[in-house]
Structures are given as structure tokens and as C-alpha cells.
Subunit: 357 residues, 4 copies
């Protein structure tokens, strides 16, 4: 076993073939352009490798706690990788627009938007075809080679991570256990909180009447959204309006986990949800930094892929977030001190029997 | 001289007075909330200190080259500080929504939007009152104490950094020196490039006819914008439509600097422009990460300042960029290889007389 | 409640009094020097605030699991803060040696080594007076004001976090539960592993005989260290030689936690140990980057505190690590696949009774 | 032209062949191990690409200023890449020791120390065979395949970047121009400074007599080192003792550049020197973080390459720094305000003739 052969360096380090070099007028920075995109693709492969593990674990009927810990570990690694590829943009920004122009035309119509692995990551996380931003009016994969389109279609046919998480959350035992009391108690607590918020606005020294009306209206929407969590019919109505994408049971469980996350049995579930939010956030950041970099590089010109890259990236940064529901739940949290105490039975089932460590 | 007294630690380290503690029910995380905002304010003070130096240098009639190097150094330091305060958000994100709720209500109606120093930084950089996003319908400083509003008004009365940069650029000698030839030559080069781009789109295998029309239209806008750079009347028309904010002479000079930045005499001017773009980008990133953090913290609730913080921060991230013109110039760059050679006289004036180092 | 008064900005933003300004010849960069050190002190205060919480939780007889989750959260926040202050050095490095020289002499004999809070952090974590690097031959606090020395003495009189962690680990229930079998089984597994490692070296194609002897000797030391974990007398002998600093029972528990960390009940304990290692690592990094920065700033000159700062910082980076034992335990880990299965009773006690999530 | 074929993704994304998978018992984390090392190698290739450009520019007799700007740009990009690969360690640290143990034995005797590209980078920067830390008693390349050893030998036969920089600095015109006066004036300034420093120590309220003696002795060494810069014979003596590695003329020029870097003509030379120091610092950091990571991963065990990786990495972090001389020069800087004014002739030759920008 030798380092170079183990890493297949012969293949890896000969895979950089600058077009400008082939054409006899090497553009120095094309090497950076190739290397950084190859590094992205290596990391995309690793992200898919980790998401696959998470999928295997959540795909099954039950999630064993020891397995759950592996899934959380994999998801948290994806977060770290995502942070790394965001900071990789710092290196790309050392390429100035004019250095890029030296070889840009040779790339047409190739484009970063043709990265199949990136599309697979989005799909795996839960981004649906219908949620995707149109790409200059056509589908995001319209310009990909057939085999690429087939791989994406296959991935779309699988249940996404969001769907699996939804099912897993829906099975959370505690919410139901003597749960009705909890839900009623929490409903009351929320009502108190929203009423207090409305009071806060009414009494607000610096808000004008129109402002107050706007904000109170938005609070009443929140209130309606929360009530909907308790009633199937209303929930489906709100969901139909795009108010929610996940299921009622899953959202209730997520809320429960956020609220009682200090309970030992909820530690891992909480970290799983947090990791998903972190991934969502890092993907959004990556798109935004990418957008800024593009506007820096080609100004208002059209991208090599024939797209208005800047608009697409900025738009997708918001539009392609798949775990908005988890962010929205924060709306319904209350201070730990106002938290309804859990029924003893539920509480006990989330602790260990041994004497405290 | 002793460390603690030099740094006024007695004052500094006693300036954290959590409200929750005063009220007898300490919320552990309020300390973090106070400390991180105080760290922000310290860094804002430093940024203002550096911008003041830049202002002193560009404020005068002429900018001596040795002075210019100090201005660039100060601006590049602002970039580093901006990067640091962006990553500071990682620490704030260790505070979970429920930890925040423990003391949130005690802060009403205080809000980060009341940071005077941050407003002064925006104003100093060149953000005008009219360009600012309305804040729940009223002016951004409507809710600030009178002395704060006075400080901001005073800053608004001063020429901003953008205005000073505009004047400095307008004085760039080289563009004029036998400049007309250059401009004509460059005009031709740009026309060739835009025609080529249009061809690229026409021949594009994967674009539909409607797409092509859209993109060609946008290129023609670019073309018009560039032509406007050569003609005062047309320029003012485009500028009136918000196409440009800086002056024609300044933009021509900036373009010249981007194109010929390898010339020794243009090194510092180029780094100055790049630093301004970096600052613009980091400020945008700071607002975006801040927005994501807020949505994580309070979901769709209303902010302590009575504002819909998320929408405001997301909106301002785009709206409050003050150096868009410098990004837009990238639209008009051409490959170094197509660059019209400079008249010998101009070239000579940008070199040193000594034999090469 | 208003932002500025809540954050005591009047006090905070008037606490920068550059000496050079007082003396009528302002050195521009002294402001940065003051601001960055004040930012450090703010973060040191926050770190102490978090360590205090950890201490309160581990100080008691038993550690409730819900409380443990708070302790882990606090420790992980300290890691994030430590990472931030390491990257803060990037900003300080924008100050060049000559800019520093403009005001350096005004600071003598003040020195960063006089930061009481930093010393308190070290002490709180578990750094003992005897373990500390001498500071130019005298005690680290010899040059601090009396009140500072008193605060440090008081902190030294308290049990340190390392001592508390040691006690907490020593109480871990599982190791004992039917533990003897485990220990015997593990002993055998380790022997197999070390024998295999020795084989690896013997068969190693590229090692010379002398090299092999050196490495086999070091493995035998490891082996002895491990055996010592099973026998009190031998353990104390190794410990007396500085081989270990923590107690035998604590180290056994830590080993157990590393090995079986996928068990739900060991999740939080594992994260606690990992956070302590991360803090240790970040502190080392901070000292090393600081050392490099100093060598950059003053070369081989003597520091303002009269110290050879570079040597001290480099030395302490290694010498002041307090959780070396936890790093050393990695020596005794074996692949998950070779792990002796846990007795059913032990296993059951680390799971929940509810049906899997 | 299509994205995937342009980036050779078929080759790139099939170059990950985990040994554990081949052997039928996949270790999940081996993929991360392969991917991260491949990412390192891609970046090493890019660093070599940039260093090659720098070499081409400094290799020639004269360095045109426009060319110098490209060299600086390339060197500053290397700094950014180095920072990225340092932070890449954050991702590797998500692999725990036990996860590593799952496949570690399959790698023996492969080792990261066998990275040829990394050795080439070190050699190219100026690390000589004799300066290198012995690797378990034998030469650093003793265990590399023959072709690798040949590539390294070839690189060693070329003049290194440090050698080229030394020659380039030695040709700096200004130092000589009427330089003798400058040197005498500077000599006097330095003497004043060192005398003042000695006074500072003598008067130091908190230093004991022995401490003072030690420090005064070290200052006298500094003084001798500086005097040596003015006298060939003495310089060679100090150099023979390892006091300096670069040439006297080069060091004088570097000193001159640090001192008068605000002069336009010295901007680029100054940034070049600073970039070299930054690269040196980042390489040191990379080795140190790597060392900490290794101690975390295998404790005190022997590395897969048969080496005591931790000791080697820690040792090389200090030993393999190649631009120590540039750091040492900081010892001889004086405040801008004490700087001897330059002869008008010299000053003029470092300015432009045009009216200030």
C-alpha cells in the first residue's frame, strides 16, 4: 500500500486539462477554475455519501438510538463540509474578472448549473421539482445530458430525507403519551404569549397606528397557524396555502422536541433537527456568496450556461430552502419557565434508570 | 502603566448588567447577548476610526501616493474586521430560541436597529437617506434618541466616502492623457465583445427563442449603458433611471483602473476599489447571516424593536449596497489580450524611471 | 429600555484612551490595539461565565441528565468563542511592526500577560501553579497587582473543572456494573492490538532495525500504561512519573465512554469530553498563533512586559494543555468491530424503555 | 463543451476506492479520509502552479513592475489556499479515533508523509535537505518511490524561491543610491533604539537582576546581529552560526523595503515579502493543527507510515520555516517618526511624475 496509489493520484492529478492550454494560449487562472470546481465535486460526493447513511438509518421502520447517533454525526459532518465549501469561495475570489475573461468564452455553454451531484444533494434533502426556481423559463435539468437526467429522476423517485424525517417525527412516542393534557396546556400557554405580544404592540411607544395594525394582523396569522396545528382540517387548509410543507404530526413532534430538548431522550432528535436547519442555512449562504461572486465576475453579463446566474442564485437562495418549517416553529416556542410540566409517565420514559452521572 | 488600567477594564468589565438579573431571575444567556453586542459596538468604533482616516486622505484636493497607501491599508483592515463580525454570528447562534425567550420581553422596545454607530458606518460609506429601506414605514432613525439623530444628520451633511472616491477617480490623470484615442479604441473593442456575446446567444444550442430574446435584450441594455459612458446627455438619462449612481468621469476612471491595474501606478487605486467592493460584500453578508439568525431565533414573530427584522435585514442586504456601480463595471471588461495598448506617453507616466527590480 | 443604555455604550465607547493621543502625537493603530484587547477581555468574561455554569453543575454530588445537557451546551459554546478569538488574530495582524512601534514604548511595562481573566480561565480549566511555565524565572502572577493575585489565589483554592470532571467520571455507574468481565475482555483485546502493532513494526518493509527497536519500546510503554489502568499500585507509579494526571477510575470511565459512546446514555458524557479536548486544542492554537504574531511584530526584541514573549507563548502552548490524558486515551481505543459486547444488564441500563424513535 | 467532461468528472469521481470496501467490510469514514486527502492534493497542485508562475517571474535577470504585480497576486493566492487547507482540518476532525481504527490497519505502510507534492512545495519555497527534520532517523524521502525521489531531486537542483528572492532583493536599486548616508543614519538610529531598550530593562520595576542580565545579553546579541548587517566578515560569521540564512545585501534591501514601504515603488516589493511570511506562517499552522489532530486520533501510537507523526509534525512546524530571516528583521525596525529622511534623489525615483491621484 502506497500513498499515491491508494489515492489514485495518477488519475486525480492528470484530470486538469485547461482548454486555453489546448488552444495554445494558456490562461494561468484556468487551472484554479478547474481545481476549485473539482474540489467542490469531491465534497459533493462526500456529502452524498453522508446523506446516504442518514437515509439508510431513517428509511427503516424504527430508528435505534445507537443508529440515531450515527445519523446525527453524519448530518453534523455535512454541516462542516458545507461551511468549508462556503469559505472556498474566498479562494475563487482571488480570480479577477479580467483573468476569468481570458478563458471564459472557451467554456460556453458549460456551466456550474450542470453539476449533477449538486442537484442530487438538493433533491435528496427534499427539494421537489415543483419547488425549484425555473431556469430561464425551463426546468432545472432541461440542459443536462440524458444519463444525468435519469439519475436525478431516480433520486426524485426515492423518498427524500425531508419525507423520512417527517415520518420519523410522526412516530415520536412522547407527544401522544398522555399527550392531550400537554397539548391543551401548551395551547393555553401559547394563547397567553400571543395575547401578551399583541399587548406589547398596542402599548408600543414608538409604533404608529397603521404599523400596529400590520403587526397585530401578522400575529393573528401566527395564532391561526398554531391553532391549525391542533386541528386537521384547518391544518390542511393552511398547508394548501403553502403555510406548511411538513405534516401536522411531524410538526407537533418537532415542537415537542424543541421545547423539551433538555430531556436526555430528546438530545439526539434535537441535534438532528438543528443539523438540518444548519445545512439549510449553509446551502442558502453558499448560494448567496456565489451570487455575489458572480456579480463581481461578470457584472450584468449573461453566464456561460446562457443564464442570468446572479438572479437565479439569489432567487434560489430563498426559494430552495427545504426546512423552512423547522425555522417557523420558533414562532411557537415559549420561555422554559412557562413550559407546562410533563406528566410524570412521559418524563420518566425519557430518563435513564441508573443513578445520575 | 498597567494592563488593566490601560484598557480601562474596571469600566469595561462592569458594563454588563443583565435585566433578568436585576429582576431576580437571571437568564444565563443574557450575558452572551450583552457581550456579543458590546463586541460589535467596539468593532463598529474601530471601523469608524479607519473610515475617518480614509476620509481625511480623500477629503483633500490631492491624494499623495504615500498617503494613498495608508488609505488602502485602512480600507483593507475594515474588510478583515467585517469578516470577523460576520463569523461572530457563529457564537450568537449557540443561543437557542428558548434561551433567548427567557429575557427577550425585558428588552422591548430596545433593538439592534438602534445602533447609531452602524448607521454612521452606512452613512459614511455612502448610503443616503433616500436609498434606505423604510423601517416599518417610517425613517430608519425615527426611533432613535435626539442626540443620535443629530449625529447621523451631521454625518449626512458631510461628503460621504463614495462622494470623495467619485471626485478622486474623476481626477485620475491617465484617462485624459491622449485619452480620446484610448476611448475610441475601447469603444470598438466593447462593440466587438457585445456582438460576439449576442452571437453566442443566437447560436446557443440549449436556449429557446424566447430565452434568447430576453438575453439579447439585456445585452442591448448593457450596450446602451456602456455607450452612455461616452456621452454626457445619455449618461444622465441612464443615471436618472437609477442605472448608475456615480459620475461618468469617475466610472470611466474606475474602468481604466480595472483594465490596466498591472501598471505600477494603478496598483494602489485598484486595491482601493477592490477593498470598497469587499466591504460592500461583507456588509451584505452580515445582513444576510443576521437575517437567517433572526428567522431561526423568533421565527415569524415580531422583533423587540417592533419590526419585522427578517424582512428588513433581507431587504437591506440588497438595497443598502453602495458600490453596485463598481460591480457593474465588470460588465465592460475585456480579456487582457484584447486590451488596446496604451499610448507610450501614458504608459511611461505610470512606470518608474529606475531599472527594474 | 433603549439599546444604548441597555449596553452601557456611554461607558463602553469612552473606554478607549490611546496613550499616544494623550501625549499629543496620536498613533493611528493604538486604537486597534486597545479595541482588540478589550474585545478579548469581553470574550474572556463570557468564557468565565460559561465555565462557572459548568462548575455549578459538576460541583454537586450528582449530575442530573437534564443539567448535563446544559453543561455540554456551555462547554461547546466556549469552543466556539475560543475559535472566534483565534481568528481575531487575523485582524491584529493587519498592524505592521512599524505601526506598533509608534506607541509600543508608551505601554511598558504593561503586557497582555497581565490579563487576570485569562489566568483565571487557565486555572478554572485545571492548570495548576506548579504545571505553569515559569515567566522569566518568576511565578506567572509575580507582576500582577495584589487584588489580581488574590483573585487568582481564590480560584486556585476552588476545585478546578478538571478535578470536578475527574470526580464525575469516577462515579460513572456502568464501568462497575458487571464491569470486571468487561475489563478482562478489554484487556485481552488491547493485548491483541498491541501485539498486532508490534508485528506491524517487525514486518515493516521500510523501517530499519534501530527504528523498529525505538518504536517497539514506545509500544511497550503504552502497554505498561494501559496495564497500569487495571492496577492501583502500578498506576500511581506511572502517575508519579507524570504519565497520567487524572485518576485511574476517571480514566477508565473516560475510556468506557469513548468506546461505547453510541449508547444513548453516553452521548452527553462523550460530548462533554470532546468539548474539553476542543477547548484544550483551541487554547493551544491561540497561544501558537499569538506566538507567531509576536515574532512577526517584534522579531527577537524583548516584550513590553519585559518577557521573551515568543518563547513563553510557544512553550506554554504545549506545557499548559490540561486535558492531555483525554488525548492519550486514544492510544487504547480499538475498532468498534473488536469491541467486547456489553453485558445485557449494562446495555439495558443505557437505553430507553420506549419503542425506538 | 459540457461541465462534466470539462472537469473530467468521470475520472475524478471514480478515483475513490476504499480498501475496506474491497475487503468486503466497508468502513463508512474511509471515504472521507480519501476525499479530504485528494482535496489536499488538488490544492497542492494549485499551489505548485502558482509558485511556478512566481518562479518564472523571479527567475529572470530583471523583474518588470507589471510582472511583479502578477507574482504578488500569485503569492497572495497561495496564502488564501493555505488558509483554506488549514480550515479543512475542521472536517477531518469530525472523524473520531474509533472510526479511523476501522480501516487504519489497511493503510499501512502508506502515510501522508509520502505526499510528493507537499515535499515539492517545501523544496520550492526554499527548504533544503539539510534543514529538514530527520524522519525516524532517515532522510525525508527515503521511503518514497524512485520516481518521486527523482522529481524531488530535480526540484532541489533548481534555484529555490528563497534563492531567487534573495537575488532579486540584492538588486534593489534604492539601497545603494546615495545609500551610504542612509545606512550610517540608520545605524545611529538603531543604536539609539537598542540603548533605549537596555535602559528600559535596567529601569524595569518588575525585573530581577538575573532576568535583566539575560535580557540585556539577548539585546546585545541583536545589536551584534545588526552590526553584522553592515560588515561582510562579521555577517558571514553570524551566518555560519545559523544567525541568518539569506545574504547581507538581500537582508539590507528587505529592511529598506519594510522601512519605506509607503513609497509607491516599494508597495509591491513589500507585499511580496509579506506574502512570503504569511505562507511561512500558514504552513507552520497547518503542521501544528495536523499534529494536534494526530495526537487526537492515535494518541501515542505509531503512525501508519511507521513514524511518530506527532513529534515529527510538531518539530517540523518550527524547523521547516524558511523565511525566518524576514521575521527576524522586525527586530531592527524603528518607529516611522524616527526614520532617517531619504535623500531627495532616492525619494524622487520612487514616485511618479504625474500630479497626485
Amino acid at each position: 500500500m502506497e500513498y499515491g496509489s491508494y489515492l489514485k493520484l495518477d488519475r486525480l492529478l492528470t484530470a486538469q486539462e485547461p482548454e486555453s492550454l489546448k488552444q495554445g494560449r494558456e490562461a494561468h487562472d484556468e487551472m484554479l477554475f478547474i481545481v476549485i470546481h473539482q474540489a467542490y465535486e469531491l465534497w459533493f460526493k462526500q456529502i452524498l455519501h453522508e446523506l446516504e447513511r442518514v437515509g439508510r438509518i431513517f428509511g427503516g421502520r424504527l430508528v435505534d438510538d445507537a443508529e440515531l447517533s450515527r445519523a446525527v454525526h453524519a448530518a453534523e459532518r455535512v454541516v462542516k463540509i458545507a461551511q468549508l465549501i462556503v469559505s472556498q469561495i474566498d479562494v475563487l475570489e482571488t480570480m479577477t474578472p479580467m483573468d476569468f475573461l481570458e478563458f471564459r468564452d472557451l467554456l460556453v455553454p458549460a456551466s456550474g448549473f450542470q453539476s449533477v451531484q449538486f442537484r442530487l444533494i438538493e433533491t435528496r434533502l427534499g427539494l421537489t421539482r415543483s419547488d425549484r426556481l425555473k431556469f430561464d423559463g425551463s426546468d432545472f435539468d432541461a440542459r443536462l445530458p440524458d444519463d444525468a437526467r435519469l439519475r436525478i429522476a431516480a433520486a426524485e423517485a426515492q423518498p427524500s430525507l425531508r419525507a423520512e424525517i417527517d415520518q420519523w417525527l410522526s412516530r415520536t412516542p412522547f407527544v401522544e403519551m398522555g399527550g392531550f393534557d400537554f397539548r391543551a396546556a401548551y395551547d393555553a400557554a401559547i394563547d397567553r404569549m400571543l395575547k401578551a405580544d399583541i399587548e406589547t404592540i398596542r402599548r408600543h411607544p414608538q409604533l404608529t397606528e397603521p404599523e400596529k395594525r400590520v403587526q397585530i394582523a401578522s400575529l393573528e396569522t401566527s395564532s391561526a397557524m398554531f391553532d391549525a396545528l391542533l386541528d386537521d382540517a384547518r391544518f390542511e387548509a393552511v398547508r394548501a396555502d403553502g403555510g406548511w410543507t411538513m405534516s401536522r404530526r411531524a410538526l407537533q413532534a418537532a415542537l415537542f422536541i424543541f421545547l423539551y430538548r433538555d430531556e436526555p431522550a430528546l438530545q439526539l432528535p434535537f441535534r438532528m433537527l438543528r443539523a438540518l436547519m444548519d445545512i439549510d442555512e449553509q446551502m442558502a449562504l453558499w448560494r448567496l456568496r456565489h451570487a455575489l461572486m458572480v456579480s463581481r465576475m461578470i457584472g450584468r453579463k449573461v453566464g456561460t450556461g446562457g443564464s442570468s446566474g446572479y438572479d437565479y442564485l439569489r432567487g434560489s437562495a430563498e426559494r430552495h430552502r427545504v426546512y423552512n418549517d423547522l425555522f417557523a416553529i420558533a414562532t411557537f416556542l415559549i420561555p422554559r419557565s412557562d413550559l407546562p410540566p410533563l406528566p410524570q409517565a412521559v418524563r420518566a420514559s425519557m430518563r435513564y434508570r441508573y443513578e445520575g452521572m
